[in-house]
Amino acid sequence: MANRGGPGGRPNGTAQQQQGGGGGGRICQFKLVLLGESAVGKSSLVLRFVKGQFHEYQESTIGAAFLTQTLCLEDTTVKFEIWDTAGQERYHSLAPMYYRGAQAAIVVYDVTNQDTFGRAKTWVKELQRHASPNIVIALAGNKADLSNKRNVELDEAKAYAEENGLLFMETSAKTAVNVNEIFQEIGESIVGLFVLVVGIQICRSEQSRLNYVSKIVYSLWYRK
């Protein structure tokens, strides 16, 4: 297991992401789970992110599938351990197996289907109640390439996301729009959080702790 944090992308990682994999300082590893109604494109988002591919007839996921991908963010290499789950309601009772201990979740809906948006809200509620308290939740309105068939308005979803403190993007696994971006944003927000927490933990002296926190706060401030 010691080797799992080693630098460098996964063999199936995209070249672009591999390049940065070897460089830089920290390596972070996060568990991320995808939830959402059946056929909204959970597996397709993962396939696009991990392999840069899109299959029109992506098979239904039975139970769950596990994949990994690394991303490079400034001086941090983020490795995502991705759990892609089955969408049918019946599999809902198994979901805790995958979201327990997750640092991030992407709740996916289909912009052409209002029901799936309602379902996404239910997932968000469940995560807020039963997942780790500081889990980072992102809401993805997938199939954005079909905006001529849109049934969920961008503003409606945006407002909901803001209200609930979620990251939000409309994505298209088919055209790749916002797919890397949503993972990147999730990565950034977790790294920000964890660097702070862990950094504090490993600073031994009071002074170094203080230095460290001020450094972080400073950098966060200027990024905004």
């Binding site: 996060f30 059946s38 056929a39 039975i62 769950a64 596990f66 805790p96 862990v198 002296s205």
Partner: protein, 453 residues
């Protein structure tokens, strides 16, 4: 929308889906362009009907070379003769050692459908239940609340197989009908994801009505009892996973420890093995061989094959970390099993004997909560919630207990991983570790692991 409108909307949606399947690909068919493959040059079609293209999941050099290997075909041609003879005198071979031995060696592909149908005794059921299938199918077209999900799944079941390639073609129609009819026939299951691949496999070898009855036998016959896998809460899955743990503890303790240490608990990797008898987790031609013996011998094969698979690959698995273990079991083994099919089947037979000797071959008869409670094939109008696809906000008692058990297992696995792995190794439960002594700033290289599992 008020209740009436919701029901109407669902009914309209169902009617539109059904109409599309009933129309098929005849003139005037309206098919979204993305749903149908455009003109393609098939790279290779293997002997089972899968299209091999570098872009698709089933692509494997191994399988293509098998297509071209004249030896495989030759051996099979010899076997066909013996099997034809056996089929003629079926009643005298049923239950014999000879039949078992031959099934372990593999049913010739050209006779597979006939043999499966004999083993499952489909002609008798079909006679007894004359007209029932058509009745159920017609009811499904009018009433099945699962039509929407079935449609979604037919559209993505074995699309890389020539039979299911084109949208609304004959086999897609059949698959849609079989699953729909079954959802009305067995109201406790309705339709559960995972069944579409099973039905599709059956349809590769059987006609529509036979495939329906084969599915029905698999679900409700004592020999297979798949009912408990597919009903809400999946009670049989949990029971089988516990049994699998027992087998691992006894026969592969070192591997079990390794898997535990890496947080790979049984619940994660066995679901598809048990639900679908190894479909898509081992190469298709080996899947067929496992299915041959599964149909002949029943659910003991699930237990034995799970053990067999891990036993055959234990050395490899012991050298892998969490990611690679899952990658290996989920993806790699399907593309390249590493072990010759005949060797794997022989080993399966040994595993079965080993387990039998230790009274671990059979997890026991299904408890009442895994058995059907309602008679099959009796029409009952779906409830309002069911009709409009409204999800219950509450879990049923069965689902609640499944959920609790999942959480317990998961936590136990995490705890085991925590206990097993020394701090310096780093594991998902550990806090951050750092390899360098510099404590005043962030060390140059360290791994952040999450806490809280």
């Amino acid at each position: 929308m008020n209740d009436e409108e919701l029901v109407q909307r669902a009914a309209d949606e169902r009617a539109a889906i059904v109409a599309k399947y009933r129309h098929g690909r005849r003139d005037g068919a309206v098919i979204d362009s993305w749903e149908d493959p455009s003109f393609e040059i098939y790279h290779v079609l293997d002997r089972y009907g899968f299209i091999h293209d570098k872009n698709n999941k089933h692509f494997s050099n191994e399988r293509i070379s098998e297509t071209l290997d004249p030896n495989v075909v030759k051996v099979e041609m010899l076997r066909v003769k013996k099997w034809v003879k056996m089929l003629r005198h079926w009643d005298s071979v049923v239950g014999s050692e000879k039949l078992k031995r031959r099934v372990f060696k593999g049913i010739p592909n050209s006779l597979r459908g006939q043999v499966w149908s004999k083993v499952l005794d489909l002609s008798t059921i079909r006679e007894q239940q004359h007209g029932k299938y058509q009745e159920m199918r017609d009811l499904a077209w009018r009433w099945s609340p699962d039509i929407r999900q079935i449609d979604l799944d037919v559209n993505r079941t074995y699309r890389d197989h020539i039979m299911f390639r084109e949208r609304y073609n004959l086999k897609q129609q059949e698959l849609f009908n079989v699953l729909g009819a079954y959802s009305m026939y067995n109201l406790e299951i309705g339709y559960c994801q995972g069944m579409s691949q099973i039905a599709a496999l059956l349809l590769m070898y059987l006609d529509e009505e036979d495939a329906f009855w084969a599915l029905s036998v698999l679900v409700s016959d004592r020999k297979y009892n798949m009912h408990g896998f597919f009903i809400p809460g999946f009670p049989k899955l949990l029971r089988y996973q516990e049994h699998h743990d027992k087998i691992m503890q006894k026969f592969l303790p070192k591997l079990k420890k390794h898997l535990d240490k890496n947080g790979v608990d049984t619940g994660i990797y066995t679901l598809k093995w048990f639900f679908q008898c190894f479909l898509d987790r081992i190469p298709f031609r080996l899947t067929l061989r496992v299915w041959d013996v599964y149909l002949l011998m029943g659910e003991r094969i699930l237990t034995a094959m799970a053990y067999n698979l891990l036993k055959l690959h234990r050395r490899k698995l012991l050298s892998l970390g969490m990611d690679e273990i899952l990658q290996f079991l989920q993806v790699h083994l399907e593309k390249k099993f590493e072990v010759d099919d005949d060797v794997a089947m022989e080993s399966l037979s040994h595993c079965l004997d080993d387990l039998k000797k230790n009274k671990l071959d059979y997890p026991g008869p299904p408890p009442p909560n895994e058995l059907p409670r309602r008679p099959f094939g009796l029409f009952k109008e779906p409830s309002f919630e069911h009709k409009v696809g409204r999800r219950s906000s509450e879990f049923s008692a069965v689902e609640r207990s499944a959920r609790e058990s999942v959480v317990l297992r998961r936590d136990a696995a995490s705890a085991a991983a925590l206990a097993e792995s020394p701090v310096q190794e780093g594991h998902p439960n550990g806090h951050a570790r750092h390899s360098h002594g510099d404590n005043t700033t962030l060390p140059g290289k360290y791994i952040l692991y999450s806490s809280r599992l």
